[in-house]
């Protein structure tokens, strides 16, 4: 029994500083957001209460199907469409970039070097990467100059910048890496002899891709998809800057409500956004065990 009290200081204690950060800057803030979404407010302060007005206001007129679709549903629909288009293109591009790196680049040094080449922009400023499209896509930008001078169009195209197009382009530009990394990771774990076996049994390249590589890359694809979808779901900066502050998003609603100090209303919107995001992630993680993939 004495032995029981002579516990050595556990190495687990080393996780305490890390845990504290997540308690104070993750768990408590999210909990407070949930609680305050039921509070009342006026112009100056937030008032402890237990009301549902913040939620009912969000869904005002949403279930009256005779009328036009409500603003909330429209915003969610628009954000979900951005999610889907971005997901589709980042997946295709990300998959083939990873495929090239994993199966066509032979030396490990080159693999690392080219992989780094794809990663470096992730460590630079997103805002700069967004505004760097202006000289290319703007009214007098390079793309319009090219289109007009070759006679493909009569006048400069306005839809290239500050539009849904530029938003999706910026998302793809910023977040394809989120697909490349996990898919590349999955591909590097594929035993090359499996591919050779398939080849020896007469499978062609396309069959190997479809029946061997893609199924084995499923975990990477799911992880990448989760990253891309969640980052687009909550976005307000890319949609703001690349949409010329004209296109709505859920993140932007929260941002604007915060700037008007309608904090409980913002909290209610945040809870709904979070719930929807978690639902999507939950569905996707049903397919894999993330921890095994590291």
């Amino acid at each position: 029994m004495i032995k029981f009290f002579k516990l050595k200081p556990s190495v687990g204690l080393l996780s305490i500083p890390y845990s504290l950060i997540f308690i104070f800057f993750f768990f408590i803030p999210l909990l407070l957001t949930f609680v305050i979404s039921f509070w009342d407010y006026n112009e100056y302060s937030i008032i402890p209460d237990l009301i549902l007005e913040n939620y009912s206001y969000i869904f005002k007129d949403c279930f009256n199907f005779d009328k036009e679709m409500c603003v909330t549903f429209k915003t969610y629909l628009s954000t979900l469409i951005f999610c889907f288009i971005t997901w589709f293109f980042t997946l295709i591009i990300g998959f083939f970039v990873a495929y090239f790196l994993a199966f066509y680049v032979n030396s490990i040094t080159w693999q690392i070097a080219l992989f780094l080449l794809c990663t470096i922009p992730f460590w630079t400023s997103n805002v700069i990467r967004m505004i760097s499209w202006i000289p290319l896509l703007g009214r007098n930008g390079l793309v319009n100059d090219f289109l007009v001078s070759t006679g493909l169009v009569d006048a400069p195209q306005e839809w290239l910048l500050y539009s849904g197009f530029s938003i999706v382009l910026a998302f793809i530009h910023l977040y394809t890496l989120f697909m490349i990394v996990p898919i590349f990771n999955s591909m590097m774990r594929i035993d090359k002899s499996i591919i050779e076996a398939a080849y020896d049994n007469g499978a062609n390249g396309l069959q190997i891709l479809w029946n061997v590589i893609i199924p084995l890359c499923k975990p990477g694809i799911v992880i990448g998809s989760i990253f891309v979808i969640t980052v687009v779901m909550g976005d307000f900066i890319t949609i703001g800057i690349m949409g010329g502050q004209q296109i709505p998003s859920i993140g932007k609603i929260i941002y604007v409500e915060m700037s008007y100090l309608q904090l409980p209303a913002a909290a209610a919107n945040a809870v709904i956004l979070l719930a929807l995001t978690l639902l999507i992630i939950w569905i996707m993680t049903k397919m894999i065990d993330i921890r095994k993939e590291l």
Binding site: I28, T33, T124, I128, G234, I254
Partner: protein, 289 residues
């Protein structure tokens, strides 16, 4: 087989090159445009070559005080970097065995990467607002003059701002540590222990040199992600703004290449940090080998 240099190889190579051009092209466009002459605008053609817009930036032509925002961002980035390394390495060591709450902590780590940044930013802002109200309440209830006279807010770059940025950088640090320890050969450590080394000595003499290159990687993530972080920081920096926040404001107000000059400067800072990190990484790897 797959890696034969046949037609598909060149198609893939071409595709990859296009992707790299897509990644870097726009950035190099604005770097080029930032060296325009004084008459230059936001688009091509290049009106002469000069460093006019950099001088303009230095002079404060971008309205806000870029110099101090720049300094603040560097300092914050450095602090976030140090804390990210210390906390994620120690947590990484803890995670090698199961401990009480380890599953929850792992869940929080992954969740923190995918929770919408604006939601977390709002949550932390709310928390500090309540903290402010509470502090003021204490001040008035117990008549503490110092609080009543001087207290304004607990929200600030090195309180709420620092903590919120750590929820973004720490998960990357910990996941890197996981990747390192999953491939870690434990026999060196066991040998040290068998020879009578204390746990601290084992860490210092055996484990640390082995994981040192990866720690460089964690530091790189810590600094650059903090230095460029925007969405999470948007509500929690208090009175002062970091460089990315100022930059976001400038996108709607500034219509001269001075914003490109600023972009060039911060991109060069990022590139130098990345370059130095990669250099250190390679050097440490060589030294070990």
């Amino acid at each position: 087989m797959l890696n034969k240099k046949n037609k598909t190889y060149y198609i893939f190579l071409f595709f990859f090159c296009l992707f790299v051009l897509f990644l870097y092209g726009p950035t190099f466009t604005i770097i080029l445009l930032s060296f325009q002459g004084p008459d230059g605008g936001l688009t091509f053609p290049l009106n002469g070559i000069s460093t006019y817009w950099f001088k303009e930036l230095w002079r404060g032509g971008a309205v806000v005080d870029i110099g101090s925002a720049f300094k603040r961002s560097i300092i914050l980035g450095a602090i976030v970097m140090i804390l990210t390394v210390l906390l994620s390495v120690s947590a990484g060591l803890a995670f090698r065995k199961k401990f009480w709450g380890s599953d929850t902590l792992f869940f929080a780590t992954v969740a923190s990467l995918i929770v919408p940044s604006i939601v977390l930013s709002l949550g932390v802002a709310l928390q500090f607002r309540l903290l402010d109200d509470f502090t003021k309440w204490i001040g008035s209830t117990f008549n503490i003059n110092y609080i009543n006279d001087f207290f304004q807010t607990t929200l600030g770059m090195f309180t709420s701002g620092l903590g919120t940025q750590l929820t973004w950088t720490l998960p990357f640090g910990l996941l890197i540590m996981f990747a390192v320890f999953n491939r870690f050969d434990k026999s060196y450590e066991e040998a040290a222990r068998d020879l009578g080394a204390t746990p601290w000595k084992t860490f210092k003499e055996v484990v640390f040199p082995l994981i040192a290159p990866s720690i460089i990687g964690i530091a790189l993530f810590g600094f650059t992600l903090s230095y460029d972080e925007l969405a999470r920081s948007s509500q929690v920096m208090g009175a002062d703004n970091t460089l990315p926040l100022e930059l976001k404001g400038l996108t709607t107000t500034v219509t001269t290449p001075v914003i490109y000059a600023l972009g060039t400067v911060t991109t060069l800072v990022s590139f130098s940090v990345i370059g130095i990190s990669i250099g250190c990484y390679v050097w440490l790897k060589r030294k070990k080998g």
